[in-house]
Assembly symmetry: D2
Homo-oligomer: 132 residues x 4
Amino acid sequence: MIESESQIRVRYVETDAMGIVHHSNFVNWLELARIEMMDNIGLPYVELEKQDALMPVLEVYIKFLSPAYFDDRITIKLFVPECPNARCIVEYKIFRGTTLLAEAKTLHAFINRKGRPIKPPSIFLETMKSFF
Amino acid sequence: MIESESQIRVRYVETDAMGIVHHSNFVNWLELARIEMMDNIGLPYVELEKQDALMPVLEVYIKFLSPAYFDDRITIKLFVPECPNARCIVEYKIFRGTTLLAEAKTLHAFINRKGRPIKPPSIFLETMKSFF
Amino acid sequence: MIESESQIRVRYVETDAMGIVHHSNFVNWLELARIEMMDNIGLPYVELEKQDALMPVLEVYIKFLSPAYFDDRITIKLFVPECPNARCIVEYKIFRGTTLLAEAKTLHAFINRKGRPIKPPSIFLETMKSFF
Amino acid sequence: MIESESQIRVRYVETDAMGIVHHSNFVNWLELARIEMMDNIGLPYVELEKQDALMPVLEVYIKFLSPAYFDDRITIKLFVPECPNARCIVEYKIFRGTTLLAEAKTLHAFINRKGRPIKPPSIFLETMKSFF
């Protein structure tokens, strides 16, 4: 299994008139956690893009359990539960301290810059395999 | 069943370096569609907020089928499939013309400004009942 | 002089924990107003982009006079005070009803997709000239 | 003079279809730099808000010199050029490495949660004075 952990601090612009973080920002935090996971496994996302391999989000699911607030220090725990092949599942737990704020799941595949589905780059598959 | 339809035009700021709309914006489009649905049933969301009844998102799920681009005219078809009680399910289909771009589902409940769960305001339940 | 007017409705996601619209959204409203101005003069921005002519923002200035709130109906009055040549100045007044919320000014030039400065497309200059 | 330095890494969501960072995000980076400056001088912004003292942006000016890209490591150098009294001027230089990407300036005052102008809290004035 791949595990990765990211830290963020809530920005003022991420809050809304309920006084809490607007839920759409959690989607961006998941993205940030994926980028840092790929750094951590030695496969920076920018390198994949240079090989004309983009990794769009096919599905996103988030369950919100407790609100986040301005200036909160947030930990995003990311898991890749199974070795990705054509499709890649990523799971997340978002915490402030020990408080679980949200659970999430995303599904990904590869496309090229023209938007056509492509096979995952071999460097991606090989790197991923080494973790399972 | 409640049905509602919203029109939006993609803003440049909503695009990303893949040349398409960044997926997090779909979350905001769902919100906009809910606000307009509530206008359409005669229960503007601002009125609920004045009664200290907020309607946060508990869960969001989006399945992305086809990308949206800058300047696209987007139609969001919203459905409330069953009469909401303590919880409210909302479903969405997002189109550009006849092309289905995404399907989505959100779950909501009511809280007050202090973040405490509350019963749905009676005006909300009565209005909703009249549609089922 | 070119004049154009755009209408928007404040989205919930545009608010912040002060209970008002976060100031960064005004920057996006200016952009939206420019896009609609270009439609109005018969020169849609997407058409310019197809000719490999992009119009980035070189400078932006905004003076905030009064806050905007969720669900506000906002009018953006846009002016092009002088005939643009290599550079294009755009001015804005942002209102809710008769209340002036902000005044703004942006400066633009043309670049191509590689980021190189280019001359304005002749269709842009000719169209603009016809208004002065 | 007060000086402060903040580091950020460009998020994918901050890019646009030109392949660069959308200019509106620079406004948010300025905010983030102000928050960190206030931490650095021992006066966290959240503490001011607890005293019912908010510090909205009255004016913002940004001059864009060179684009930022996804994954760039950005340094924001912030300066408070003169001791703030009722109004507070903040200046910024935004770099990627040694490349100056933008220069900016914001103007601030204090209001309370009801939106009324207030005097700066004495703790703010005293702390600021100690730096000039």
